[in-house]
């Protein structure tokens, strides 16, 4: 097997003694598009903030994250500063507050160009304009002098993407990039991310709670629950034959777009709180297939089929109504 671009091994994070991430193993290959899905608090964002050393100082991080052999956990600031934005870029959920309100966007993009490509002055400005053009910003030259509050949410997310591209990274981590945006703008941004991936061959990690968004954008999906990856498989496989009862439950809970309307198959209960984590499988209290063995120890992520792993003692192909809506004649 080819050496992966990023390899995460046993990554754990806790805040004030409460676990947020409980041993995550994950690899991302060059040019690959991988998704992390899960509900709020499952650790999908924390994984990447920890990998890049962006968590607040009170976070206790253990385990290993390597970028082509270079260890990032505990790396000196000088190493991390070169990786961030230069080799792994990251964009966030709320584009409006993710940009500095007092600096013009041209300056914010140029800052990344200076750090990673040594561009200054006129050359940086010209390149910033080119990047804005690349991310589909209308009237790019004039927008260089705009402040974030003068742009819409979608435009600000385009600026964030342009800024991320400035360092020519090998990987982009997009943390809920469309959650704060309107549906039609979400479509634009997803389209843009796909296009950039085609053009640059950059790897993409999409962190999202939206199964639909993930399915369209990524080849491989990791489903996270309560600080662990519970299922990992190819995107199309997840939607046709999920093995973990949580993934099955998520898909079944999605309102269908066709067929008769009947009560949704909701997952009962809620996510366990970090201070009351079950000893065994964290999903067991909500699981329809729960057995005694589930409560003994957390089940390991094991292969259920080639390139399909699930952390469940009783993985199975439950009947999942595929949530495929009828198509609009395009």
């Amino acid at each position: 097997m080819v050496e992966p671009l990023v390899a995460i091994r046993g990554l754990s994070v806790s805040f004030d003694g409460l676990p947020a991430l409980r041993g995550v193993d994950l690899t991302v290959g060059r040019g690959e598009a991988v998704a992390l899905v899960g509900e709020s608090g499952c650790g999908k964002s924390v994984t990447w903030l920890a990998a890049l050393g962006l968590l607040p100082a009170k976070a206790r991080v253990s385990g290993s994250v390597t970028l082509e052999g270079t260890e990032l956990i505990g790396a000196p600031p000088a190493v991390l500063d070169r990786v961030r934005g230069g080799r792994i870029a990251m964009i966030f959920q709320d584009p409006a507050s993710s940009l500095n309100p007092v600096h013009r966007i041209g300056r914010q993009i140029a800052e990344a160009l200076r750090l990673h490509r040594g561009l200054d002055g006129r050359a940086a400005r010209e390149e910033a304009r080119r990047l804005l053009d690349q991310v589909g910003m209308p009237d790019a030259r004039r927008r260089l002098d705009a402040f974030p509050h003068e742009l819409s949410g979608g435009q600000n997310q385009r600026v964030m993407i342009a800024m991320a591209l400035a360092g020519r990274p090998e990987m982009l981590v997009a943390d809920e990039p469309t959650t704060a945006l309107d549906v039609t703008i979400q479509a634009q941004i997803l389209e843009l991310l796909a296009e950039i991936r085609r053009d640059t061959g950059m790897a993409l990690v999409l962190v999202s709670h939206d199964l639909g968004v993930v399915a369209e954008t990524c080849e491989r999906v990791c489903v996270m629950y309560a600080g662990r990856i519970v299922e990992e498989t190819a995107a199309d496989k997840l939607f046709t034959g999920p093995a973990h009862p949580y993934a099955q439950g998520l898909l079944a809970a999605l309102p269908p777009m066709t067929g008769p309307r009947r009560p949704l198959a909701a997952i009962p209960g809620g996510v366990p709180e970090p201070w009351a984590m079950p000893r065994g499988c964290a999903f067991a209290p909500r699981c329809p297939r729960r057995a005694e063995a589930c409560e003994a120890a957390p089940p390991p992520l094991a292969e259920v089929a080639p390139a399909h792993r699930a952390a469940c003692l009783y993985p199975g192909a439950a009947a999942v109504v595929s949530p495929v809506p009828a198509m609009v004649p395009a």
């Binding site: 209308p138 389209e191 997952i267």
Partner: protein, 333 residues
């Protein structure tokens, strides 16, 4: 059967000032919205931010007064907000917001908050009544002693629902009731709303940007764009065969696995209500617009199949155009 709620030609304008030194600009949040909601039915309102769906919700509850048009509830015109009559009527109509924590008083126990509407409307309460109400929304009676921050997001939304149901309302206006919740909890709350409707016959105005949720919940759906309803009909009809180009784009933007065919990606940003385009407000982003769309506002009227649409092209009045060139970026004041 007579309509529970009827809104006719609602117009709501705001004055907005840009920056500290800007001249005030008139913003038309609503530009002639009419809707009808029958007893025990659900009307879904969909659209993107700034389309006026939340404003519509506030106007039909009388939380704001329309600048034009009128709202009738149970065949009576809505009394002026703040009057005793309005307050009496308000016990018949309740609101459920997106953020359940923000909608609750953090210092009051769940039980006290659920009993509050009774107190406001001068009725006696007993712990048994509170317990029964909590049970009806899937909470345990012992949740009455808890405080909002001790509950999960889904439980909080259940508590908000219990409070809204205390006065046995005929209408619930739900403004994005599930969008702050996790996917697995959204289904629980949608199921609960359906159960409540089946048991109590309450009518719902279900405001959401989530088309899947709207289909699940609604008997009728109205798609809004920039302060107007652009299409209205049965959910499956509108969602499977949308007639208005905006509705088509909205449906096509729903992300889902195994997409076949290309998605319609709209150009441009959601429009700014302070700079409403002339003619059909959607024309600058519309892939089939032609010259008439920029000049004449299309009226919302029924097609042959009974669907209400506001589009020159969808009504066959003009052939589909190929979109209009993007206007030069106007310098805002």
């Amino acid at each position: 059967m007579s309509a529970l709620l009827k809104a006719e030609g609602l117009v709501r304008r705001y004055e907005m000032r840009r920056g500290w030194f800007g001249r005030p600009v008139e913003v038309r949040a609503l530009d002639g919205v009419s809707l009808t909601l029958e007893h025990g039915r659900t009307l879904g309102l969909v659209g993107e931010s700034g389309c006026g769906k939340s404003t519509t919700g506030r106007l039909v509850l009388g939380l704001e007064t329309p600048d034009e048009g009128r709202v009738t509830f149970e065949e009576q015109p809505l009394p002026a907000p703040g009057t005793a009559e309005w307050r009496r009527l308000r016990s018949r109509m309740q609101m459920v917001y997106q953020d359940p924590l923000g909608a609750m008083d953090r210092r009051l126990s769940i039980g006290a908050q659920v009993a509050e509407p009774w107190k406001i409307h001068g009725r006696q309460t007993s712990p048994e009544q509170v317990a029964a109400l909590l049970r009806s929304v899937g909470l345990r009676p012992d949740h009455a002693a808890h405080y909002p921050h001790e509950l999960s997001g889904g439980q909080r939304q259940r508590a908000v629902l219990a409070r809204a149901l205390a006065t046995d309302p005929a209408l619930l206006v739900c403004d994005e009731p599930i969008s702050a919740l996790d996917v697995s909890i959204q289904a629980q709350v949608m199921n609960l709303l359906s159960e409540i409707q089946a048991e109590r016959g309450v009518a719902l105005l279900f405001i959401s940007h989530d088309l899947r949720a709207v289909r699940q919940m609604s008997h009728r759906v109205a798609v809004m764009y920039l302060g107007r309803i652009v299409e209205e009909g049965e959910p499956d009809a509108v969602l499977h065969d949308p007639a208005h180009p905006y509705a088509r784009a909205l449906v096509s933007a729903i992300p889902h696995p195994q997409r076949r065919g290309r998605r319609i990606v709209l150009q441009g940003d959601p429009p700014n209500p302070a700079a409403r385009p002339a003619g059909c407000a959607f024309h600058p982003r519309c892939p089939v617009a032609s010259a008439r769309c920029a000049a004449e506002i299309p009226v919302l009227k029924p097609r042959a199949d009974g669907r209400l649409v506001a589009c020159h092209v969808a009504h066959g009045e003009i052939p589909a155009g190929s979109g209009l060139p993007a206007p030069t970026l106007a310098k805002a004041a």
